[in-house]
Symmetry: C2
Subunit: 314 residues, 2 copies
């Protein structure tokens, strides 16, 4: 039995579809996104981007990773600290020190634990506290797209971001809400509680969403382009995937705010309040496009990645 | 502010713990697994393993991936077909043709779609049908560890495997049950329905669990060792992450059943019916070890990977 061209298979399937000639094939989630009107895409300000340029790979190719910051009310003052560090060019010359399969890639100052060698942090870093991992929101969360969740009462898509929600008590007028760790989320490394990290040590998720980290670590953003430069890195052989030798670490050439990067493309995300996103999320949860047989009837919020794209050239 | 050695931070935390001198620090999930008694580890028969040796990497290092087969009643006759293909050494000289970030790495015959070049399949392959994606099980599923799930009524750990469950109707005496796609799951590539694939084209998950594929594709096993050889592969630049040139494909030297591999280590999985697994799963869902502040109160089944290890040398 030889496998057929995907196109040929689609044509072979066509006679069955012809019987329902009135009903076109259901669009895939990506097709819905591709057809979304321009008005439903939201511009991301360059100042809300963090751009990491790694040393070129062993074939000399450039490696740029672009990160979008989490907006208020979440994860401040860590985002503020990261802006301070980026403006100070603090990460230049530091490195990626850890790559753990199905977990995280982490970067910062590999000598942070050595008082003699640790790189001096810039002035002006704000104090952080674990009390800030969870925010209070008072709006009617039920107006947002809502998803069944194994880790919270439910999760929502709020202003372009996956957020978990809990109604803390019958007397409270506000929801507890916190950012969700998904593939590509960027979080703040820290030591044991009550240390909450400054933002100098960062990581991104390269495996199944580690939701047990929610409410235990600050999520400050997500990778929107170039995550493959991190997810394909050789895994560290030390404990927790740390590289055992300095030679294995991946040098960071520079980390800058997007507003300080010449010729940075413009990026947009698909508004999670719009009609196209609602149809996209429904299609992610209920795949009716021709490849599928059984729509799941639901999805976890991390299986509905918020579409982000380079803004089309006008 | 310099970051402290993790050990030093743990010592700094010790004074707080000393106030509760009667209560030792809660163990981490990995600590629970490491302390599990030998009797709770189940031997995996070599005949239930599929061993894939890729061409050495560009530094000449060997790359072996070990896969454990899904047991009955799931995913037969695909597992039977894979045994037939492995015994025929059919994959030798074929290749990995696709690596899509946050999704899958896929391998098989890159020329499968070209009738002139496609490699002849061995005789004896069983007919497959999409009706077999879901099995019926009649035992009392409520005796298994049970997990809240965004894609099914609930999921369970059954005989060492994550399985989603639905009670089909009030008249039925059996549950619908199907294997769950998690990171490292191995599934069977196919064309458009009703094609269900033979098992000649396989993939493994290298990102967030694509649960929308459940009940739509046969899950035949999981990678138990060596997944980093797949998850670190350069991503394909063609549609769906297919490599655009033959030179990018990763050659497969050989795929064999474990029973045909000389000097293969013995492997074991932690019984999901035992006390250690129950404590491990509880710890995964409720992190109380010192790094954590807020136990989640739940977990999705893919965030509780079944521990698998090389059998200790007696």
């Amino acid at each position: 039995m030889t496998a057929k061209l995907l196109l040929a298979a689609a044509l072979l399937a066509a006679p069955a579809l012809a019987q329902e000639a009135e009903k076109p094939a259901a669009p895939s989630p990506n097709e819905i996104v591709a057809a979304a009107p321009a008005s439903e895409w939201v511009a991301i300000a360059p100042d809300d981007l963090l751009v990491m340029d790694l040393a070129p790979d062993r074939d000399g190719k450039a490696r740029r990773v672009v990160i979008q910051f989490m907006p208020p009310p979440f994860s401040h003052p860590w985002v503020a600290n990261i802006r301070t560090l980026a403006k100070a060019h603090w990460w230049d010359g530091l490195a990626i020190g850890r790559a753990q399969d199905n977990y995280v890639v982490q970067w910062g100052d590999p000598d942070a634990e050595d008082a003699a060698k640790a790189k001096t942090l810039p002035k002006g870093l704000q104090v952080t506290s674990e009390n800030r991992y969870v925010a209070k929101i008072e709006e009617d969360v039920l107006r947002y797209s809502k998803f069944r969740d194994s880790y919270a009462q439910f999760s929502i898509m709020r202003d372009g971001w996956p957020v978990a929600v809990e109604w803390p008590s019958s007397h409270s007028m506000a929801y507890d809400a916190w950012p969700v760790h998904c593939y590509g989320s960027v979080g703040v490394g820290r030591n044991m509680p009550p240390d909450a990290g400054t933002g100098a040590e960062l990581y991104t998720v390269i495996g199944h969403a580690p939701r047990h980290l929610d409410r235990n670590i600050a999520v400050v953003g997500r990778v929107i382009e170039g995550i493959e430069h991190l997810s394909t890195l050789p895994r560290g052989t030390g404990p927790l995937g740390f590289y055992e030798t300095p030679e294995e670490r991946v040098p960071i050439a520079a980390i800058r705010l997007g507003s300080e990067v010449a010729d940075l493309p413009a990026f947009q995300y698909l508004s999670t309040d719009g009609e196209a996103f609602a149809r996209y999320a429904d299609a992610r949860a209920n795949r009716r496009d021709p490849f599928f047989i059984v729509p799941a009837g639901g999805a976890d919020v991390c299986n509905i990645p918020v579409p982000v794209r380079r803004a089309p050239i006008e």
